[in-house]
């Protein structure tokens, strides 16, 4: 086996200490697995950091022994300060800076109250990225109640308006709260029918913490996607190119064909009949539904039904 270079050893030390700092602690075995090395090799490398202490010629003691600790059960942790990282003067590279800037800005948009350390860190990252990046995450009013219920291990009661516009009272065990695709969701068991479901938090009204107590499952992760394939509906439209920006979201566009008269033909996919009806009725009147035929009928019927509310 080739001997690792001094740079390689330092990168490994750096990564192991980063794991200890960023996770609070990590077992030597887990750290070694992450770094694709052996526990003994990592332990040997870390000796220099764990037992750093020496005297200068004048007898001054230089040490950083309180910085990192390897516990009796072989867990590496940052005991006091990650003094090596405290010394880092080089700014993060552009990609790292952009990643941290986006994460920091999102947290800024959600956190109520001052966080001056994050503010100054984000400001420094802005200098590295040298581009203003404005990012926020919507924060629906019921999120706090749902989070509170989850923390307390108690159900949450709320009135919920589903995709079809139907409202119903529900009580749910909030196992996991997350944000993806620009929306906040709660995943948990619906006490009414004992089924595990997802709910959009922005569609909740009048949420409060319930009396039912629960233990959430141990593992929960943000899903990579929801399978909405069964709800997909695609319509082919012919409209002015500038009208594309006005299409209601969410939707997915297919390939755009530019026509000689300045209009475009495009397939637009939405999820569910309710969204399709809305899309069709808000199109500019001169936009054409090329197909399918039932979409033309739906557009006419939905517009007429809404118009009745104004003419009646």
């Amino acid at each position: 086996m080739a001997r690792p270079s001094i740079e390689g050893k330092y990168r490994m030390i750096n990564a192991a200490l980063a794991l200890a700092e960023e996770r609070g602690s990590i077992s030597l075995a887990d750290a070694a697995a992450q770094l694709e090395t052996t526990r003994d090799h990592l332990r040997a490398l870390l000796d220099s950091v764990l037992f750093l202490e020496f005297r200068t010629r004048r007898g001054e003691l230089v040490h950083a022994t309180r910085a990192f600790l390897l516990t009796e059960d072989d867990h590496l942790l940052v005991d006091e300060r990650h003094w090596l990282r405290d010394l880092v003067s080089r700014p993060p590279d552009a990609d790292t800076a952009l990643r941290l800037l986006v994460a920091g800005t999102v947290v800024q948009s959600l956190v109520v109250g001052a966080n001056p350390q994050l503010d100054t860190a984000v400001h420094k990252l802005e200098q590295v990225v040298a581009a203003d990046v404005v990012v926020g995450v919507d924060d629906p009013p019921c999120r706090d109640v749902v989070e509170q219920a989850r923390r307390d291990g108690r159900s949450v009661r709320f009135r919920y308006v589903n995709d079809k516009g139907e409202a119903r009272d529900r009580e749910v065990e909030p196992w996991f709260v997350f944000s993806n695709w620009g929306r906040w969701y709660v995943h948990g068991r619906d006490l009414d029918d004992d089924a595990v479901k997802w709910f959009r938090i922005d569609r909740m009204a009048s949420a409060d913490v319930g009396d039912h107590r629960f233990e959430p499952p141990e593992h929960a992760e943000v899903p990579e996607w929801f399978d909405l394939h069964d709800h997909e509906v695609t319509v082919t439209l012919r409209l002015a190119a500038t009208a594309l920006d006005g299409l209601p979201t969410p939707h997915r566009l297919g390939a755009i064909t530019h026509l000689a008269d300045g209009r475009v033909d495009v397939d637009v996919t939405v999820y569910g009949r309710q969204r399709l009806a809305h899309l069709l009725v808000v199109l500019p009147p001169d936009a054409e539904v090329v197909g399918p035929e039932e979409c033309r009928a739906l557009r006419r019927e939905h517009a007429a039904a809404l118009l009745a509310g104004y003419d009646g």
Partner: protein
Amino acid sequence: MADDATERILRLAAYLADRGRTSVTLGTISADVPGYGGDDDPPRDERGELVVDTREWETIRKRLQRDLKVLDDTLGIEVETTDDGYRLRPPFFTPDERRALIAAAAAVDVEGVDDEPVLGELGTAVDASTRRIVLAVPERVRELSAAIRERAPVTFTYHGRARTVDAYALGRWRTHWYVVGREHDADAIRKYRLDRIETASGALDVTVGEPGSYTVPASFDATEQLRLDPNDWGQDPPVAARIEVSPDHVHNFQYELGGRVRDRADTHVVVEVEVRHYESFRERVLRFGEHARVVGPPELVTLVRDHLHAVVEATR
């Protein structure tokens, strides 16, 4: 045990950290830090400094330079040379700032940027399973942020026409990312949705021009420009719209459009919203279908009614 070089470099870092912003000479380092030849008793002058241009001086100097490069390359710890010797550069982040960023990285999964980071870079070692916020960043954000950093104009096709833009800022509203900047042809600030930048064969079609070609005006306010809710930036004369909303939908309605409840009845709630962009208001109200109906002022009622009439007529 770790080898001598590993220990020596860590000792050097600890020693320089101990000295703070005070510069130390090569002679002092070699005398104080084990591993730099202090025990070999290299030739020194009356002040205790190493005698320059000797074989020992050259060996120690080269070793120190090599070690300083390792510190810089692998840990990002830079040492600057002053008239009085060597000292650490000030840290980029304070420990508290670093902790705040680690907490942010532990909460937010930024997808699409730095997807295969080197473990050890800030925020890469967090426990990803704790992340509860996922934010997808399209490749074009990276591409355009690099162009902005270089102040290089970008050219892309949008709505079937090539645009050259001095990009000033990037931002996200709802689920979409936008770039804002000065379009050359119009000589005016324009916003473009990144997913509307047209592609050929799936390739990214953004051409980056000459770096250093423009400056971002001091008066440019990215936050202001990226307030993308049409009701924020709309230029229509502000009017107070009144909408009757089904009671079950009031909460969602206010979340989407804002406004205040002005009246409550058994069958509906009247919400008042100040409107600055009539067309987007119409689109957003119609999203609620039969659960929301504009009842005033007359010009907005007419706006919605005329649109629906026109759609019905066009589809006969």
